[in-house]
């Protein structure tokens, strides 16, 4: 299902490209892709992928009663949770990066396309991947902590993260999406039809954004590993 969801951007890109070639869409492929990036990938796909994979890491084992198969093996509980996190990150990264690349190429391959444009898509992919890793880490932590983490995860991913970025000053820095948008500074100025979505961004410097995203990932992953190591999980009949 999530593969299909990820592919929605490819389908969208194909439809828009069709309109573009028919002369009904005048904006350049770059601008259209930026809009898809900011709305679909950044604020929807990486959140939904990490939310569903992250929050199910422990709860799925509990609901399926399969946890004892893992916790009775000679690997530490921290290794189990980190291993599951890395496996989910690998899978979701493949879904994300492949659809970003394909969507970009569909919208931008023409006579003017140069190899250096691939550097742009690599940069987009890296920023999205950092976001995916950070969100997945946070949702993994929720999964080790709460028996029903999905509700809080939804409230965080689609409530807090969306609302907080419109606040001015330092308040907007209490979100993951702020640092992701800060890494795409060329798109903070008004450009494209959906530019109103990020006009209030007061960007953090690139290196600091990357550092904070890495720290968010590391801290929540460490908390998840710690909690999973010492917490008992009771499977209800």
């Amino acid at each position: 299902m999530f593969f299909l969801l990820s592919s929605a951007s490819v389908l969208l890109a194909v439809i828009i490209r069709g309109y573009q070639l028919a002369g009904h869409w005048t904006e350049s492929g770059q601008i259209i892709f930026q809009n898809i990036l900011m709305v679909f990938f950044l604020q929807f796909l990486i959140v939904i992928l990490s939310l569903f994979y992250g929050t199910s890491l422990v709860t799925e084992e509990l609901e399926g009663k399969t946890l004892p198969y893992l916790t009775s093996r000679p690997v530490s509980r921290a290794e189990i949770i980190i291993g599951k996190y890395l496996a989910s990150l690998a899978l979701t990264s493949i879904m994300l990066v492949s659809t970003v690349l394909i969507s970009y190429l569909i919208l931008n391959i023409d006579r003017d396309f140069r190899l250096k444009d691939l550097w742009t898509v690599a940069r987009y992919s890296l920023v999205l991947w950092l976001g995916l890793a950070a969100y997945l880490s946070f949702f993994t932590f929720l999964s080790t902590w709460l028996s029903k983490p999905i509700l809080l995860g939804l409230a965080f991913g689609f409530g807090w993260e969306n609302v907080i970025q419109y606040f001015p000053g330092t308040t907007q820095k209490l979100s993951v999406v702020h640092y992701l948008k800060s890494l795409l500074p060329q798109y903070t100025a008004a450009s494209g039809r959906l530019s109103f979505l990020f006009i209030r961004l007061e960007p953090t410097r690139d290196w600091l954004s990357v550092l904070i995203l890495i720290l968010i990932t590391a801290i929540f992953l460490a908390l998840a590993a710690l909690l999973f190591s010492f917490k008992e999980y009771l499977m209800q009949d």
Binding site: Y69, R73, P74, S76, E232, L234, M235
Partner: protein, 308 residues
């Protein structure tokens, strides 16, 4: 002899509900059965032994080492949980290989061990099929296979024979006995006495979270045989069956269930009852659809033993 499992003053409760209370015991190599009615604390004890739960008081040790969060000891431990739970989309072979990889085996060794375990539980021919397509007996056997695939020294089996047909039961009993013959320590839980009798003579009776008796099967049978047993037989000729049994002196009571075509016997001598039933079946064209021993029978026996 090296003590394989030790429990010292082991207690565990869930909120206000008691799981187990002050369990002290040592278990040596061989098969030991934990016998008790549902909710007696067998699974709680086994979950503590396998590091799934922490004891509130006391401690459990395997080969002298504490269990909780001790990954080293899990290398020597095989656990077959009670729940019928699997990664349903995997094949039996993939399920075993995946779990074996957690022991650090190379891919080739994990595959070899998985094949060996499938052979032991006689599932080699269906190893490539998804677990979701397995019958109840196959699922139980693949669960045992994952517990024995790494050749552990201690095997903890929570209700391994539950809900199985006689043929599957026989296969699993054979596997468990082979393990015992290799000098391993096996702890098996059950709430059905005849199942346990087929496995071992070393029994621990557990009831309401406490160990109420420990000894060989004959000692336990003597205790239990002082209490009446209920046997329910479903047969189209249930009235004829009741008539044939009615004169037996060990029969205490009979009750009919005409709507189910069944008769429930109460006897204080189970062995003589079944001998007579066998004779009847051999000498007359009686058809029997089902023989059951209602579960609450054991509960009643335990209540009787603890003087309720």
């Amino acid at each position: 002899m090296r003590v394989a499992i030790e429990a010292r003053n082991l207690s565990r409760w869930y909120g206000n509900v008691l799981g187990i209370s002050e369990i002290n015991l040592e278990i040596n190599p061989g098969i030991t059965a934990l016998l008790g009615p549902n909710g007696a604390g067998k699974s709680t004890f086994m979950k503590i032994l396998t590091g799934q739960l922490k004891a509130n008081i006391g401690e459990a040790r395997i080969f002298g080492e504490k269990v909780w969060n001790n990954t080293h000891i899990f290398r020597h431990l095989g656990f077959c949980p009670e729940d019928d739970a699997f990664y349903e989309d995997l094949s039996g072979f993939e399920f075993l290989c995946g779990l074996l990889s957690l022991y650090g085996y190379s891919q080739a060794e994990a595959r070899g061990r998985a094949r060996q375990a499938l052979d032991l539980v006689e599932l080699s021919d269906v190893g490539g099929r998804q677990v979701r397509s397995y019958s109840r007996g196959m699922r139980q056997r693949i669960k045992i296979a994952q517990a024995i695939a790494h050749d552990p020294d201690v095997l903890i089996l929570d209700e391994p024979l539950s809900g199985l047909d006689p043929l599957s039961k026989r296969r699993i009993i054979k596997v468990i006995k082979e393990f015992k013959n290799a000098g391993k320590t096996i702890v098996v839980s059950s709430h059905i006495l005849p199942e346990v009798e087929a496995l071992t003579s070393e029994i621990i009776l557990i009831h309401q979270g406490k160990i109420i008796a420990r000894g060989d099967i004959y000692f336990i049978r003597d205790l239990i045989d002082t209490h009446p047993h209920m046997i329910r037989i479903k047969s189209p000729q249930f009235r004829q069956l009741a008539k044939s049994m009615a004169s037996e002196d060990y029969l205490l009571k009979m009750a009919f269930e005409p709507e189910n075509q069944a008769v429930v016997f109460e006897t204080h001598d189970r062995d003589r009852f079944f001998n007579r039933l066998n004779e009847l079946l051999l000498s007359s064209p009686l058809v029997i659809d089902e023989i059951t021993s209602p579960d609450d029978n054991l509960q009643a026996v335990f209540d009787y033993l603890v003087g309720k």
